[in-house]
């Protein structure tokens, strides 16, 4: 039995279920409680769970995120909302040193079962400082885990896995996906948990592999339809879902099947998740590649504001189709 939920509702349901499951789960962030969340992900939760479990914070990301990390060391399981993931910049030290390194530096005596979540995307006309895409940035730090759901079902499943995980997990949501709908298993069928580290083949194909995560998956799926309809090209779409841990086996499997790859990644082209995936593929499936791996990334400039062209700076189906067609 399956229902249709928005990505936002799916996240909320996941949060709500985990709040019910474990009294140490506490949601914190700016405007998450009384205001119901800047993007309404936490709508109704404060009313249901009250002041202790759903906590509004001042605009002090370094302070409250560090506070969450400290509390997690004592066994609390904070789920911290960054109103935008872009605001990681003012809390970076807490995010990459305290959360990522305290276990290591203590020789394993401490762990930080904390979740940081919020939207991490461009495309909403809020300019350069508000449109960072930091999946690759954080996945580069051993000690951290990173995931980026593309669908409502994955959003619910991954947020639940993240909360149960005993390591810091950074969940990258997407403002432009919050309103999208999809089937999500009914709670009566049991816990819907999507493990970290497991990619999902969102579309089968034989000619080329499109590998993506987050909203780029949606673009890749749209591009695959066009490629099929207009060019007779059968594209397989692999949704990474989790960036670290990363499902390297699934990546190599699709490459070995199609022998051609286009990576779709909302990151800027210097680095990003796709540079890492390209590096892994060329190293571990070198003999299977019939053509160089190509990438469709965000055009290499700070995010432009103008809504007339902002979407053209980002990966989109037509840029993907074009890129695929350059591959012989």
């Amino acid at each position: 039995m399956s229902r249709t939920l928005t990505y936002r509702e799916a996240l909320r349901e996941g949060l709500d279920e985990e709040l019910a499951r474990d009294p140490n789960v506490v949601l914190m962030g700016e405007e998450v409680a009384q205001y119901n969340g800047a993007y309404k992900v936490t709508e109704g939760l404060w009313k249901k769970w009250g002041d202790k479990r759903i906590v509004d914070t001042p605009i002090s990301e370094a302070g409250f995120i560090g506070m969450g990390i400290g509390a997690s060391m004592l066994g609390i399981r904070p789920v911290m909302e960054l109103m935008f993931w872009s605001f990681h910049s003012v809390a970076f030290d807490q995010l990459v040193n305290n959360a990522a390194c305290v276990r290591y530096m203590s020789g394993g005596l401490i762990n930080c079962p904390i979740v940081m979540r919020g939207p991490a995307n461009g495309g909403t006309g809020v300019g350069a400082t508000h449109s960072h895409i930091p999946e690759g940035l954080f996945a580069a730090f051993p000690g951290l885990k990173v995931c980026a759901p593309a669908t409502p079902a994955d959003a619910k499943g991954l947020i639940k896995a993240a909360i149960r995980d005993n390591d810091p997990v950074y969940v990258m949501e997407n403002t432009l996906l919050y309103g999208t709908v999809g089937e999500v298993p009914d709670p009566s069928e049991g816990d819907h948990v999507v493990p970290l580290g497991l990619a999902d083949l969102k579309r089968m194909g034989s000619d080329i592999s499109l590998i993506a995560h987050g909203r780029s998956v949606i673009h890749a799926l749209a591009a695959a339809e066009i490629l099929q309809a207009e060019h007779g090209i059968s594209a397989e779409v692999l949704d990474l879902r989790s960036i670290r841990p990363l499902d390297v086996d699934a990546i190599l499997a699709t490459v070995k099947k199609t022998n051609r790859v286009v990576l779709v990644d909302e990151s800027k082209p210097f680095g990003g998740v796709s540079a890492m995936v390209a590096t892994l593929i060329q190293e571990h499936a070198f003999d299977y590649l019939d053509a160089p791996i190509k990438r469709v990334c965000t055009l290499d400039a700070p995010a432009i504001y103008s809504h007339h062209i902002e979407h053209l700076q980002l990966p989109n189906p037509s840029r993907i189709v074009e890129k695929v067609l350059t591959i012989k």
């Binding site: 009384q34 001042p58 300019g127 504001y305 103008s306 902002e310």
Partner: protein, 360 residues
């Protein structure tokens, strides 16, 4: 600031030196400036709702006396920098409505060529350094402008604006310590409209008397100002600016004010976290434009009709700006790749060495 403070017996700041020297024309200009800001934003709101803009629109309506009053004191070596609620300051420094409106429309003719949007207006030629979206992020920049002024030996100061919610960002505190330690001519103007998004001052800040008093921790001067009274804004800000210019001593000014609209136009909760009575009280009793207009009429400087005419002209100017913006060309894809590096924009020899960009 609490309404209690606002409602306490008022001093009349019209007589302070910096206001006494105002000519009638200049006073009318100040009224016009505030009205222009309001009409500009009302037009922006209309076309934002009509889908002409994207992202956030943070309206300054209700706060006009703060930008107008403080910036009216600026001389050629005084500089201005603020956060994302930046339209009022932009017009107050003398930016024209066309380039500001076009910026919001995301057009090439925008002050930032459509690259910055509503939160990122800039006009360095008018000593206006933005428009910054990261809460508190502009506060060290304002410090740096003050540092630069002092380094270059110019007698001037930097007015750096921030909200009541921004005072809890660490960078602001680091800036306060540096400002006091290095004796830098920066004035931090807290525009206290009582709320950071849906969070009231009480729910976001711990403080003793008021937020400006945090200055004492750094042995810095501070003052509180009623932001509905343009004369008071000018009188008290002038003192801080002179202290900065002449003695290189920084200050915090906390100016109580109010925004009539939500945090941004997208703020669906604007009437949930504030009572309709509270909003109505400000509009009725503390509107800076209404009060100053009334004052100038009392002073015999304008008539009702003249004031209406100013208002009408401002509305027409704003409407024209919307037409200008609408008819302007949008940036094209190649525009995405300019204004990243000075060297590549200027096609210098350095720009021809190595790859600066990595588009696939």
């Amino acid at each position: 600031m609490s309404t209690a403070q606002l409602d306490s017996p008022r001093l009349d700041f019209a007589g302070s030196a910096v206001n006494r020297e105002l000519t009638p024309e200049r006073k009318i200009d100040l009224l016009r400036q505030m009205i222009r800001i309001r009409r500009f934003e009302q037009a922006a709101l209309k076309y934002y709702n009509a889908g002409k803009m994207n992202g956030f629109l943070h309206l300054y309506i209700g706060q006009e006396a703060v930008a107008t009053g403080t910036i009216s004191l600026c001389g050629e070596n005084d500089h201005v920098i603020t956060a994302y609620r930046d339209h009022g300051h932009a017009l107050a420094v003398g930016m024209d409505m066309n380039s500001c409106m076009a910026e919001m429309y995301g057009k090439q003719t925008g002050c930032s060529k459509g690259k910055g949007g509503s939160m990122h207006f800039f006009a360095p030629d008018k000593n206006y350094w933005g428009g910054h979206g990261i809460v508190g992020g502009q506060t060290p920049l304002g410090l740096g402008l003050a540092y630069g002024l002092k380094y270059l030996g110019r007698e001037g100061c930097c007015l750096c604006y921030l909200g009541d919610g921004a005072v809890n960002q660490g960078a602001f505190h680091e800036s306060l310590n540096l400002a006091a330690l290095f004796d830098l001519p920066v004035i931090y103007v807290i525009e206290n409209n009582g709320y950071s998004m849906g969070t009231s001052q009480k729910r976001s800040s711990a403080y003793r008397g008021c937020l400006a008093q945090r200055a004492e921790a750094y042995d810095m001067e501070w003052d509180v100002i009623d932001g509905s009274d343009l004369y008071e804004v000018r009188a008290k800000t002038h003192i801080a600016m002179e202290r900065a210019r002449k003695e290189h001593r920084p200050s915090i000014l906390e100016i109580s004010t109010y925004r009539y609209y939500g945090h941004s136009v997208a703020d669906a909760n604007a009437k949930k976290y504030r009572s309709p009575e509270e909003i109505e009280n400000y509009k009725q009793n503390h509107d800076p434009i209404t009060l100053f207009r009334k004052r100038l009429i009392e002073e015999g400087i304008v008539t009702d009709e003249q004031a209406d005419q100013i208002s009408k002209e401002a509305a027409e100017e704003a409407a024209a700006a919307c037409r200008f913006a609408d008819e302007s060309p949008a940036p094209t894809i190649p525009d995405i790749m300019t204004d990243v590096y000075w060297e590549t924009d200027n096609q210098t020899p350095a720009s021809r060495i190595g790859h600066h960009f990595f588009n696939d």
